[in-house]
């Protein structure tokens, strides 16, 4: 009997579109980490990049369960919509979520904050490394992209961290082909970036193609904001309007969602992934330039934070 599956002409080529290529590379990286590391974790913040990595993990490991827990480093400075989204996704997927809270590091005394409203981006690195040693993680999978920032452009796909969690940009292991060097000694760990080679436009194209759900604040909504130079600062309980501030109600969306004290939306009416993508093609400001107050301070600020263990 001739099986149904054989009733086709065997083709000779099978070209991949650029999104297929990126997707397949990311799946390969995730499976390598799962195959070579004993105790990885996938960082899931509820942001769009980590939502994409999460979908890629489903693609890599379904119908089985994910071979690692999800890890969220909770700054306590969150957009409520993002936390709600995080919990909804975790429940839908039936996976395990580990939350490492900056608040707990503050209680332990390992993080000291000057004021409640200071950005907690730097503190995040401390809490993350505490979670690495508490849970014995040997690899952290994250959604960082090389196109985000100049220091990230040099980052390996699988990147080594010493026993202090530090990144030494001058002593990186050369990374050839897709052969990742995952050898570790006790206390050391790896960072793995499956979407290293994606651009912001690729991420949005993929979200559209795959119908990946995101927190609503990624799409156009009305919000009270204050103009600060080229940036729009959202008015929130942690970033209230000051005496002379002029509060405006604008239609905006977020391009990234980070610490609420330093993440700014952009004016936009884009309500769907395709509309966001269309705007991305016409954007004149980079993702971080338009939205992050912390990266602008010095030319080298990202590189310094990365060396200290920041993701």
């Amino acid at each position: 009997m001739r099986s149904e599956a054989l009733a086709f002409e065997r083709p000779h080529t099978d070209p991949l579109s650029h999104l297929d290529w990126l997707e397949s590379e990311a799946i390969h990286i995730l499976r390598e980490i799962a195959g070579e590391c004993e105790s990885p974790a996938l960082l899931f913040s509820g942001g769009k990049d980590s939502a994409v990595v999460l979908r890629l993990a489903e693609k890599a490991f379904r119908p089985g369960r994910l071979p690692f827990p999800l890890l969220h480093v909770d700054t306590g400075h969150n957009f409520p919509e993002v936390i709600a989204y995080r919990d909804r996704r975790v429940a839908e997927l039936g996976e395990r979520l580990v939350v490492a809270a900056v608040e707990d590091s503050i209680a332990r005394g390992t993080v000291v904050v000057r004021s409640e409203t200071d950005s907690r981006n730097a503190a995040q690195a401390v809490t993350l490394l505490e979670a690495v040693s508490e849970h014995g993680f040997d690899a952290l999978i994250g959604g960082a992209r090389r196109d985000e920032e100049k220091a990230r452009a040099k980052e390996r796909i699988v990147s080594f961290r010493d026993a202090f969690g530090q990144w030494d940009p001058k002593a990186q292991r050369p990374e050839l082909w897709s052969l990742y060097n995952t050898e570790l000694k006790r206390g050391e760990h790896l960072r793995a970036f499956p979407i290293s080679n994606w651009t912001e436009a690729d991420v949005w194209a993929y979200i559209a193609r795959e119908n990946i759900p995101l927190p609503d604040i990624y799409y156009a909504h009305e919000r009270d904001v204050i103009r600060r130079g080229p940036l729009l600062q959202p008015v929130t309980p942690l970033t209230p309007a000051r005496a002379n501030d002029k509060v405006e109600r604008l239609t905006v969306r977020f391009r990234t969602v980070g610490d609420i004290t330093c993440t700014c939306p952009v004016e936009s009416t884009a309500a769907t992934p395709l509309e966001v993508l269309a705007e991305t093609h016409q954007a004149t400001l980079s993702e971080r330039g338009a939205t992050r107050m912390d990266d602008r301070t010095s030319e080298a600020s990202m590189e310094r934070r990365k060396r200290e263990g920041y993701f």
């Binding site: 099986s3 599956a5 054989l6 086709f8 065997r10 080529t13 099978d14 070209p15 991949l16 579109s17 650029h18 999104l19 297929d20 290529w21 990126l22 397949s24 799946i27 390969h28 499976r31 390598e32 195959g35 489903e58 693609k59 890599a60 490991f61 100049k150 452009a153 040099k154 940009p169 001058k170 990186q172 292991r173 050369p174 990374e175 050839l176 082909w177 897709s178 052969l179 050898e183 570790l184 080679n197 651009t199 436009a201 690729d202 194209a205 559209a208 193609r209 395709l274 509309e275 993508l277 269309a278 093609h281 016409q282 004149t284 400001l285 980079s286 330039g289 338009a290 030319e299 080298a300």
Partner: protein
């Protein structure tokens, strides 16, 4: 419909014009203008955005004349590089045209960083070798240019020579012709072909936009060359190589119990109904299904991540490679390879390194250095001093603990390339370009 909407929809649907991803590496001597060229490609294809351009303009280290962007600063990433004005590690850059998506590995030009070019080139389809038209105006190529072309030839890349700073020789056709003749001679000596294009990266001539200042040039622009080069992975007719990453079990002991082999097709094509063989054991089976999260497929070509199921239970684990019947005959324990030493710790004679090929790891000893290659002299063989230090290129004989595929790098780069990892420092010590199995049984008495 707005133009933006149109390109957005195309990006999502992977429209017919999607020419996939071309990866290329840039190589040149210090100050040939590599960083400027990359900045130009990004700027003219609009991948370099306004704030990034402004950050360049307000940089403390800008070298350009007043009022001009120093495009090179867009790509020199690390603090030390900005201070010294040099590139010290491989950086990756991205841009897309309506025809294709590009990933650039920016590899530095200094002699002591040959390893970075090898690293950048390992994932590339093509290399753009920059030549400074002014410095080469007599037709004489720099040693560093010869070195980069040699490494590209060793690694089987397509070579495009971009003759930059043509403005400094008054857009002279005669100077270009002299350089072109030297490039042809070099390519012949290396046994490769090279395409060549005259450009001025700083002003943008023939990079993305066609120059009006070189009416004698009727060939393609650099971007046109990049858009039309065939992709390496798409090479039809290559043998199947499917390294298994994970064995997937689901469904426990139910009727739907499922055992699959997850991995990426590294070369060739696999289809349902094909007979496959496991390289390590020679066991054979028929492909019963190819599954993905998005549903079953009838076939999958190079580059696709899939899960394969077979018509019978055979012993397969991570590190195994599925290939066509007969693949077991392509494995060996003693092999000949070209090596590029990457680590600052030199080769330790007798040390057992960890060799990684595909998803397989095994112990490996470099038993003999057959000869060294001089990359500045068209890869000429030179007598071996019996040592290997960082940036050295050599032909070696090696013995591995468990048989690996003796795939020739020029035919099957995904499995013909391997790395050595130092078992003590865990540094990536060397890149291997496998050439063949060692035929001479008496060649070495090493047992491992």
């Amino acid at each position: 419909m707005a133009l933006g909407d149109h390109s957005a929809r195309e990006a999502v649907t992977g429209a017919e014009r999607d020419g996939g991803v071309l990866r290329f590496v840039t190589a040149g001597s210090v100050d040939d203008g590599k960083s400027t060229l990359i900045g130009r490609l990004l700027f003219d294809s609009k991948a370099l955005l306004r704030d990034q351009a402004e950050a360049i303009a307000r940089s403390r280290h800008a070298r350009a004349d007043e009022g001009e962007l120093d495009l090179a600063l867009a790509v020199d990433g690390l603090e030390a590089e900005r201070e010294q004005g040099i590139t010290i590690d491989v950086a990756y850059r991205y841009f897309a045209t309506p025809r294709r998506t590009f990933i650039i590995a920016d590899a530095p030009g200094h002699e002591q960083y040959t390893r970075n070019m090898v690293t950048g080139a390992s994932t590339a389809d093509l290399v753009v070798v920059l030549v400074d038209a002014y410095r080469a105006r007599s037709g004489q190529l720099l040693a560093q240019t010869r070195r980069h072309a040699a490494i590209a030839a060793l690694m089987g890349l397509d070579i495009v020579v971009a003759v930059n700073k043509i403005d400094l020789v008054d857009f002279s056709e005669t100077v270009f012709a002299a350089i072109s003749a030297s490039v042809d001679r070099l390519a012949r000596a290396l046994g490769v072909t090279a395409r060549i294009v005259p450009i001025a990266a700083k002003a943008g001539d023939n990079v993305v936009d066609r120059s009006t200042r070189m009416p004698w040039w009727t060939g393609p622009t650099l971007l046109e060359l990049l858009e039309t080069t065939p992709l390496r992975a798409a090479k039809a007719g290559a043998a199947l190589r499917f390294p298994v990453q994970r064995v997937v079990r689901a469904g426990g002991s139910t009727r739907e119990a499922y055992r699959g082999y997850a991995g990426r097709v590294e070369s060739g094509l696999v289809a349902v109904g094909d007979e496959i063989e496991v390289a390590s054991s020679g066991a054979r089976a028929i492909v019963a299904g190819i599954s993905t999260f998005d549903g079953p497929r009838t076939h999958a070509g190079a580059g696709r991540s899939i899960t394969v199921t077979l018509d019978r239970e055979i012993d397969i684990s991570r590190g195994d490679v599925l290939g066509p019947p007969g693949i077991r005959d392509a494995t060996a324990v003693r092999l000949i390879a070209d090596v590029c030493w990457l680590s600052d710790a030199p080769w330790a004679k007798g040390r057992r390194y960890i060799l990684k090929q595909g998803t397989a790891k095994t112990g490996a000893v470099v038993t003999d250095i057959l000869f060294r290659r001089d990359p500045a002299a068209d890869l000429q063989e030179v007598a071996s001093p019996g040592a290997l230090a960082m940036n050295d290129l050599a032909r070696v004989r090696l013995t591995v603990q468990k048989p690996i595929l003796a795939d020739a790098y020029e035919d099957l780069p995904a499995t013909g390339g391997a790395i050595l990892i130092d078992p003590y420092t865990h540094q990536t010590a060397a890149a291997l370009f496998l050439r063949s199995a060692e035929q001479d049984e008496s060649a070495s008495e090493w047992s491992i």
